[in-house]
């Protein structure tokens, strides 16, 4: 299996964490659907990336999972954010905002602005 580029993978992890933070415990399909909805269906979440990522996050201790019943009473595996995951989310959000701000400033700069 070829890995996807880091940025994408890192972004997806952040999106998953944020989704769980906002929605609370959620199953895999729900997470994928939610990310697609928020992106305005511009993003198509690849399940081949999502499930290994969920496993990785679980191994790292950012999320935890257990079997539960879905809205229509089906057996589904629910993922939720752990305390460590919440901390990680906050840290990564800060980092991401910083990066985004820097990039934004680069785009804003015009030639005449430079001394």
């Amino acid at each position: 299996m070829k890995e996807k580029p880091d940025v994408l993978q890192g972004t997806l992890a952040l999106m998953v964490l944020k989704t769980l933070d906002v929605l609370g415990a959620q199953h895999g399909w729900g997470i994928a659907r939610r990310i697609e909805q928020i992106s305005g269906d511009l993003l198509d979440v690849n399940q081949g990336t999502l499930y290994p990522l969920l496993l990785k996050l679980e191994h790292e201790g950012s999320i935890a999972s257990e079997w539960g019943a879905s809205e229509n009473n089906r057996r589904a595996r629910f993922y939720r954010l752990t305390a460590a995951g919440r901390k990680q989310l906050q840290a990564e959000t800060r980092e991401w905002e910083q990066t985004a701000a820097i990039i934004a400033r680069f785009f804003k700069v015009k030639a005449e602005d430079l001394p």
Partner: protein
């Protein structure tokens, strides 16, 4: 942290197995169901909803794989797969596997066996804390050709306060003492030591204490420390032994401590090695000579260097100290003697003498290991030719080359490891038997063990050899023209040229290596035979020696055998009674120095030799070995008189002292002169009680022929013999010649000796033939081992060349069949195949001779009477090797000759 956590989870997942995959499948099924519901809600038909959902989910297998990669450790999993596959491959061809594993078991087992010996001796020579700090100090007088002259008490004090050493101990070279009061008067090895002796070694007593290092008693302080062995044997491991009295040579000592089991005194003499009692003495008061610079003690000086000081640096500072002492006391250190003190690592002293033999063995066994590895590599390559099609098909199906190499490597590693484990197991179960083969004279024989370290060595060697010798065949196996192989394979053409060239190179190197080993074995064999045939200059046949020891109490007036006249009564009676024993034809006595070959340097007790009109002081004089013998000695040992006369009945204590020298002494000290009639003085004879009068001049009355009484391998050393009726000796050997039964003799002699004096111990009866054989035992051991290794190597090389030629014949059977069909003579086919074998043998022999020349010069020190370039050995070995190569090629050649062209060509 996160990485570690993931790694551990993965390892547990690997162990727990499949559950995770099942969970994912459930989850994906759930995912699909949710997506279908969503699609239905969006208004799709049920079939379309299902189709779209499946499309959106993508390939389930790919998700599972991605999940699995995240879940576990692919590398280890692959390794397990490879191993499983390798086990299947080994089981599929059991004959091949057995031969390969047996070959490796032989190679690794033999290497490990020799390693266990080296581990116990060369790698761990000293069982003391910080052994590298321990050094031996030897004083030499190179100006007069004297070595190891001992040390005087003032010199010892100078060394102690020099700041070079943490502590310096002086000890006697070991001697015997009679322990009386037990059932049988027993002779024990004792050693007098300075009180700091045990502190230098850094070993404490297991019971009681050792000596107080600051004890300043000038003579013996009457304290004794005993060995664990003596404690258990003589005192039944009495827990209250401390404080009990011991009567040694009629002097009363009391026990202060028992050394722990396994503490051994590491001297170079056999007495020292077996020391069971240590007595503390300041060595500055009676019975020792007064502590003057000129009176050196026959002693051994062992010191512990200051921590962190290297031998070289310590030697530098010691040289400076010696130089300043010489300046300070010019009269005591005459410049012509050139007094120096050498530092020798103590380990060198213990195992230095066997190092060349052991390294030779290790080298030889290393070659055997190399040959067995080459043989197995060869087998692997041979098998590869049968698997060419399999490999090609797998590559065509997309198997990566690295993956294939890894898999072949797993196979060879498995083979080598199994071989290593088998070799180790055989070694472990045969260790008792194998240890019997090791000569008793090898130091640390009892420490040889098959332990975890040795197992680790065996496994490490297996893995290293498996990697190196598995990688090359794997590389060659997977490297070929895919299309060509697929097209050719199975049509009997010449196959991969590269592989067959590799096999030929392997066989050639095998032949070369075995030639090297065989030359080494041949040279050692010839040296050994020459040693046995060397004229020792004395006749050991039918001679036995039995030892006894006369007590020498510290107070000379208590000694009933103090003078030669007193002792001669005893000796004459012992000799008279010995001659009456059944089978005895001749009897003589001598001191232990007169025992041929049975002693090492330390027993020689060399004395300074002052020639009249040449030397005037002890410390200018060269030293000379000085046995004390009875007049019958020379005749009994068959040492012929060259000039002058032997001792006679008039050479008694009150007559002028006389001596007999050997030709070596005559040559060295009276070159081109007649030594008979010359007068000498021998000084510092520690075996004689101190006398106030200066020793009188001793006149040389005869010269006897040289005899190799020290070592068969070395020419005779200078000796001066004196009569036991003029100089009393304490450690005696009774020599008997005749039809003797060694098993009874000891008891018979004991009853005769103890009929004269019941307090005398009688021990260590041995035939001189045995002494002679055991003096050669380490040589014999290494010779036999190298010969065994060489035979193994030859066998392996023979198998190798047989395999290769068989392979070549098999590959060429189509060509041969065509030749035969076209009318080739069968004899020519035979010749063609044999020529192949001969070509390999010639190349191997050529390389081997070059290697053997190199090796034989490296081992020149172990050879005796044979040149390292010995033509006979080289030619003989080459002929044998060629013969074996031809014989091994003959079988496949016959097979080629008898090939039926019709069947062969049909079957292709």
């Amino acid at each position: 942290m996160k990485f570690l956590r993931r790694f551990f989870l993965r390892v547990t997942n690997l162990a727990t197995g499949r559950g995770a995959d099942q969970r994912l499948q459930d989850e994906l099924a759930e995912h699909l169901a949710l997506q279908i519901e969503e699609n239905l809600r969006a208004g799709m038909s049920s079939a379309e909803a299902r189709r779209q959902a499946a499309l959106k989910l993508g390939a389930v297998q790919a998700i599972r794989e991605g999940h699995h990669d995240e879940q576990s450790l692919p590398f280890i999993e692959n390794l397990l797969f490879d191993l499983r596959y390798a086990v299947r491959m080994l089981l599929r061809s059991p004959g091949f596997s057995f031969i390969a594993i047996a070959t490796m078991a032989l190679g690794i087992g033999a290497t490990t066996a020799i390693y266990s010996v080296i581990d116990a001796t060369l790698l761990h020579p000293l069982p003391y804390p910080n052994p590298t700090e321990l050094v031996l100090l030897e004083g030499d007088l190179p100006g007069v050709g004297a070595r190891d002259v001992g040390i005087s008490v003032p010199e010892w004090r100078d060394l102690e306060s020099s700041g070079i050493f943490r502590s310096v101990s002086v000890s006697g070279t070991g001697a015997d003492v009679n322990l009386t009061g037990s059932a049988q008067p027993e002779r024990l090895s004792y050693k007098h030591v300075t009180p700091n002796f045990f502190a230098v070694f850094g070993v404490d007593a297991q019971l009681g204490r050792t000596f107080d290092p600051h004890d300043a008693t000038p003579g013996f302080n009457l304290e004794a420390v005993i060995s664990d062995g003596l404690w258990k044997r003589e005192f039944g491991a009495d827990p209250h032994i401390v404080g009990k009295a011991l009567r040694l040579d009629n002097d009363l000592y009391h026990v202060v401590g028992v050394m722990p089991r396994g503490f051994r005194d590491l001297g170079s003499t056999s007495e020292e090695r077996n020391t069971e009692i240590w007595l503390a003495a300041g060595m500055a008061g009676a019975p020792f000579p007064p502590p003057l610079r000129g009176s050196r003690l026959q002693s051994r000086t062992v010191a512990r260097l200051m921590p962190g000081l290297s031998i070289v640096a310590a030697q530098g500072r010691l040289d400076a100290l010696v130089a300043s002492l010489k300046k300070q006391y010019p009269a005591e250190y005459p410049s012509q003697t050139a007094w120096t003190v050498r530092l020798i690592p103590l380990s060198e002293n213990v195992v230095g003498s066997v190092r060349p033999s052991l390294l030779l063995l290790f080298g030889a066994v290393g070659l055997v290991l190399l040959i067995s590895c080459v043989n197995v590599a060869n087998l692997l390559l041979a098998r590869a030719s049968g698997r060419g099609r399999e490999i090609a098909v797998r590559q065509a199906l997309g198997a990566q080359r690295t993956r294939l190499i890894r898999q072949f490597l797993a196979e060879s590693l498995l083979l080598f490891l199994l071989g290593g484990i088998a070799g180790f197991a055989i070694l472990f179960f045969a260790r008792k038997f194998l240890l019997q083969l090791v000569p008793e004279s090898l130091p640390h024989l009892n420490d040889i063990s098959i332990n975890w370290g040795v197992l680790g060595f065996a496994l490490a060697v297996s893995v290293a050899a498996g990697t190196v010798f598995g990688l090359a065949p794997a590389w060659l196996m997977t490297r070929f023209d895919l299309i060509g192989t697929l097209r050719q394979e199975g049509r009997g053409s010449s196959g991969s040229r590269e592989r067959s060239r590799a096999r030929q190179i392997l066989v050639i190197s095998e032949l070369a290596l075995s030639l090297v080993l065989m030359v080494a074995a041949g040279l050692l064999l010839r040296s050994f035979r020459d040693l046995f045939q060397v004229q020792p200059g004395f006749n050991p046949a039918r001679v036995m020696a039995v030892q006894t020891w006369l007590p020498g109490p510290n107070d000379p007036s208590a000694d009933i055998y103090r003078t030669a006249t007193q002792e001669s009564v005893l000796l004459r009676e012992i000799l008279r009674r010995s001659r009456t024993l059944p089978g005895v034809e001749e009897a003589a006595v001598g001191d232990t120095t007169a025992l041929p070959l049975g002693h090492s340097d330390g027993d020689l007790n060399p004395l300074p030799l002052l020639r009249e009109g040449i030397e005037t002081m002890d410390n200018q004089a060269p030293v000379i070995a000085s046995p004390i013998v009875s007049p019958e000695y020379f005749h009994l040992l068959g040492m012929p008189l060259e000039r002058g006369r032997l001792f006679n009945d008039r050479d008694l204590e009150d007559a002028p002292p006389v001596a007999i020298i050997n030709q070596a002494a005559a040559r060295m000290y009276w070159p081109k002169q007649d030594p008979v009639g010359k007068r000498v003085r021998l000084r510092l004879d520690s075996r004689e009680p101190l006398r106030s009068a200066k020793p009188a001049w001793t006149t040389i009355v005869g010269v006897i022929a040289d005899a190799r009484t020290e070592s068969l391998a070395d020419a005779a050393i200078p000796q001066i013999y004196r009569s036991v009726y003029q100089h009393p000796a304490k450690s005696l050997a009774i020599f008997l010649r005749g039809q003797l039964d060694p098993s009874d003799l000891s008891a018979q002699v004991r009853s005769q000796v103890q009929a004269v004096d019941a307090t005398l111990p009688v021990f260590h009866a041995e035939t001189l033939d045995d002494v002679l054989a055991s003096s050669l035992s380490v040589r014999r051991f290494s010779m036999e081992m190298v010969a065994f290794f060489a035979a193994t190597a030859l066998l392996l090389a023979g198998l190798g060349i047989y395999g290769t030629i068989s392979y070549v014949v098999n590959e060429q059977r189509r060509e041969i069949a065509i030749r035969l069909a076209l009318g080739a003579q069968r004899g020519n086919i035979l010749k063609m195949v044999l020529r192949r074998g001969l070509g390999l043998a010639a190349a191997g022999a050529g390389l081997g001779v070059a290697g053997a020349l190199l090796v034989s010069h490296l081992m020149a020190g172990l050879l005796f009477g044979v040149s390292p370039n010995d033509l006979t050995t080289f030619a003989g070995v080459t002929i044998v090797l060629t013969g074996v190569a031809l014989a091994a090629s003959y079988i496949p050649a016959l097979r080629a000759m008898r090939l039926d062209p019709i069947t062969t060509l049909h079957s292709e």
